[in-house]
Amino acid sequence: MRARLEWIASPLLLLVLLGFWQWYVTAAHVSAFILPPPTAVWSGFVYLVGLKSTWVHVWVTIEETVAGFVLAAVAGVLIGVPVGKLRWLERTLNPFIIASQVVPKVALVPLFIVWFGFGSTSKIVVSAVIAFFPIFTNTVLGVKSIEAGHRDVMTSLNASRLARFTRLELPSAAPYILTGMEVGIVLAIIGCVVAQFLGGNAGLGYLLVAEMNAYQTDLLFAVILLLTLVGFAFYAAIGAARRVLIPWHSSGQAQP
């Protein structure tokens, strides 16, 4: 009974919110330039999805985000593992890590555009830089959180370095790394879209700015909706990776 209620409750709440939005816009005579009604957003969305050019923008955004994310993931894990294992390395790098964490990464976007131009490269670099830190810090944390008892088991079995890495360190850190990736993928999209705001002529970030300049607020909302859907898809992909890669971990299980 309760499960069924929960099933109905979420869509019902959404309908109530949309209804309120529609009612408010009509009753208060809000200009469609400021806040278009949901019906207009929906028809804008349908129109946008029907355009071939929209799919080019979606595809560019996906490509740049994924490329940036993959770079961030590879670098984050490859640098994070030794930093987590070697205390002297962590101590040496720590001031630099903290400094580069504190710099607001979006402030670097203009710089990257100067360096890498208006094409895809600057977007990929921005995505990668922003997504790197959560993946890196979680990898370090994961490697440091390996249980002493598990290490003792490996020592008592006279395990080689390779066996320790593949059988203990990597699987033990995997839930942490995936958590970092979950945050990282969302940040990668943000980085990509922000970079597209500032330079270039492709991607959903570019489309947002274009609709804003054209005072097409309904289409602006439609692009936001599209971006949200892309974000959802990425997030779901990491969730699926969790279930496949770490089915033993409680975070990889379906909620009861």
Binding site: V153, S156, N158, R167
Partner: protein, 258 residues
């Protein structure tokens, strides 16, 4: 030939407050197929002594020999000597990312044993320790006692001649503990290995041991050695034997005077 031999083994830990002697120079010889229990209050160095025998920590001074081989040469462990040792810890320490069967077979996989042979051996071991049919489960799906059974199976998988156990049943409830002690006696008989077990339970020590090594703290050293000669296999009824109670009382008295 003795299975384990310690000569003048001393262990000192360096801490910020200075050096702490965890184990004063100690000599100990353990015979093949013997069941020796290291008993003592916390801080008496019994776990340190076991970890020294296991090669998990090097001695500050002295020699540790396992099956006639020196365990340490300089700061390198002899892999052949280590291969003669199976270690069971207080926590089962199963790897949560492997099924129970893969946990049991992991040491074999690391030795390059083929998949089919590994699986067959893991099943055989699971049966021996009483968890047949649970091989495909995750460790978290097992009870504490069953996890510890799996840990024993893992330690026995590569057929070490010596099984070292650090308070293996310390985290279990009293009833499971009694069952596990009976089971351990059976496993010991079936495998014919030497067992060195650490505990702070006097009853457990008297029930299991051929010989009890009593350690006292500050610094850790051997205070007394008691031989226990109840016939094997021992059942729960041995605990009703007046000699059992007398031995427990004697050990209790020695521990209280420490």
């Amino acid at each position: 030939m003795s299975s384990i031999r310690l000569e003048g083994v001393r262990k000192q830990f360096e801490s910020r407050a200075g050096a702490v002697v965890a184990l004063a120079p100690t000599d100990l010889a353990i015979a093949e197929r013997e069941m020796v229990v290291l008993l003592g209050p916390s801080g008496c160095g019994k776990t340190t002594l076991l970890r020294l025998i296991a090669g998990l920590i090097p001695p500050t001074e002295g020699r540790v020999q396992v099956a006639g081989r020196d365990l340490w040469t300089g700061d390198r462990r002899d892999p052949a000597a280590v291969a003669d040792l199976g270690v069971v810890f207080q926590d089962a320490n199963l790897f949560p990312w492997y099924t129970v069967e893969r946990n049991i077979a992991m040491p074999l996989a690391m030795r390059g044993v083929g998949r089919a042979a590994r699986q067959a051996r893991a099943r055989e071991l699971a049966k021996m320790v009483g968890i047949a049919g649970f091989g495909q489960r995750w460790p978290r799906e097992l009870s504490g006692g069953m996890r510890q059974r799996a840990a024993i199976a893992r330690a026995l998988s590569y057929e070490p001649s010596i099984l070292l156990m650090d308070e293996p049943f310390g985290a279990l409830d009293a009833m499971t503990r009694d069952t596990m002690n009976l089971e351990l006696q059976r496993i010991w008989t079936e495998t014919g290995c030497t067992i060195v077990l650490v505990t702070h339970s006097i009853g457990e020590a008297v029930f299991l041991a051929d010989r009890i090594v009593l350690l006292s703290p500050r610094p850790g050293r051997i205070a007394h050695v008691a031989t226990v000669d109840f016939p094997r296999p021992r059942g729960p009824e041995v605990q009703a034997d007046p000699k059992f109670a007398a031995l427990c009382a004697d050990l209790r008295g020695r521990l209280d005077r420490m």
